[in-house]
C-alpha cells in the first residue's frame, strides 16, 4: 500500500488528511484521481515521494509515502 498525505485546501476539499492506494502507481495517476474527485487546481499540484519532489512519470512503489503539495505559501 501507498500512503498519500494531504494538506491545506486539498485536505479540506477531500475532508481527509490521508488515504491509501495500491502499489505500484504513478504521480500522474494520483493527479488524475484528484481531478476526478474535484480537487481544485489539481493540474498544478506538486507531489513528494518520501519527502522529495518528484515529477508525473515517477513510479511509486509499495511502502512509499506520498505527499500532495499545493503551491506553497510560507514566509
Amino acid at each position: 500500500m501507498i500512503e498519500v498525505l494531504c494538506f491545506a485546501h486539498v485536505a479540506e476539499e477531500l475532508a481527509m488528511r490521508s488515504y491509501t492506494v495500491s502499489a505500484p502507481t504513478t504521480i500522474a495517476s494520483l493527479r488524475e484521481g484528484l481531478m476526478e474527485r474535484g480537487v481544485s487546481g489539481a493540474e498544478r499540484l506538486m507531489f513528494a515521494v518520501n519527502e522529495r519532489y518528484e515529477t508525473d512519470d515517477y513510479m511509486i512503489e509499495d511502502g512509499d509515502t506520498v505527499a500532495v503539495i499545493p503551491m506553497v505559501s510560507g514566509g
Binding site: 498525505l5 494538506f7 491545506a8 485546501h9 479540506e12 487546481g41 493540474e43 498544478r44 499540484l45 506538486m46 513528494a48 519527502e51 522529495r52 519532489y53 518528484e54 515529477t55 508525473d56 505527499a67 503539495i69 499545493p70 503551491m71 506553497v72 505559501s73 510560507g74 514566509g75
Partner: protein, 151 residues
C-alpha cells in the same frame, strides 16, 4: 538550538542571531516576517499556517546548503512558526551571517524567496469577510520546483 525548525512555538530571533555568529563573522542579517493586518482594503484577523514538517525542515536545510554554495562561508539558520498566529506575531526568522555585509544581505533575500518556492508550508488568511488558503505566490508550474536538486 536547531538550525532549521518548523513548529508551533513563538520564535526567538536573537537565538538565531547567536546560532550564526562566530569569530570571523562581520555581518549578520536578521529577517523577521510578521503578521500584517491590512493588505490593501482587506483586513486580516489571524493567519493559520500548516506544514508537512519533516519535509519542510529538510527543504530549509537545503536552502542553507544552496546559500553556502552561492556565498561560500555564509551561514543560514531558519525557523518558521505554524499554527494560529495573531497580528504582529513573528511567522519566520532567517539569520544569515558572513564575513562581510553584502553576502549576508544577498543570502538572506535569497533564503526568503526560496522558502516561497520549495518549502511545504501553507498559509490560510482569516479575513474579516472569509478565509482562504493562499498559494501560488510565485506562479510556479507543476512538477518539481525549479532548482531543486538532490545530492
Amino acid at each position: 538550538m536547531k538550525w532549521y525548525q518548523v513548529n508551533e512555538h513563538p520564535l526567538e530571533p536573537m537565538a538565531l542571531y547567536e546560532t550564526v555568529r562566530h569569530r570571523n563573522v562581520g555581518a549578520v542579517v536578521l529577517f523577521i516576517g510578521t503578521v500584517r493586518e491590512m493588505t490593501g482594503s482587506k483586513q486580516t484577523e489571524l493567519l493559520e499556517y500548516e506544514s508537512y514538517v519533516p519535509m519542510a525542515e529538510k527543504m530549509l536545510e537545503q536552502i542553507g546548503h544552496e546559500v553556502s554554495e552561492r556565498w561560500p562561508g555564509a551561514l543560514t539558520a531558519i525557523h518558521h512558526r505554524i499554527g494560529r498566529l495573531d497580528i504582529l506575531d513573528e511567522a519566520v526568522v532567517i539569520a544569515t551571517s558572513s564575513s562581510h555585509r553584502a553576502d549576508a544581505y544577498e543570502a538572506n533575500r535569497y533564503a526568503i524567496e526560496r522558502i516561497k518556492e520549495i518549502v511545504p508550508i501553507w498559509k490560510r488568511e482569516h479575513w474579516t469577510d472569509g478565509t482562504k488558503w493562499i498559494g501560488d505566490q510565485k506562479e510556479q508550474l507543476p512538477g518539481r520546483p525549479e532548482g531543486v536538486t538532490y545530492s
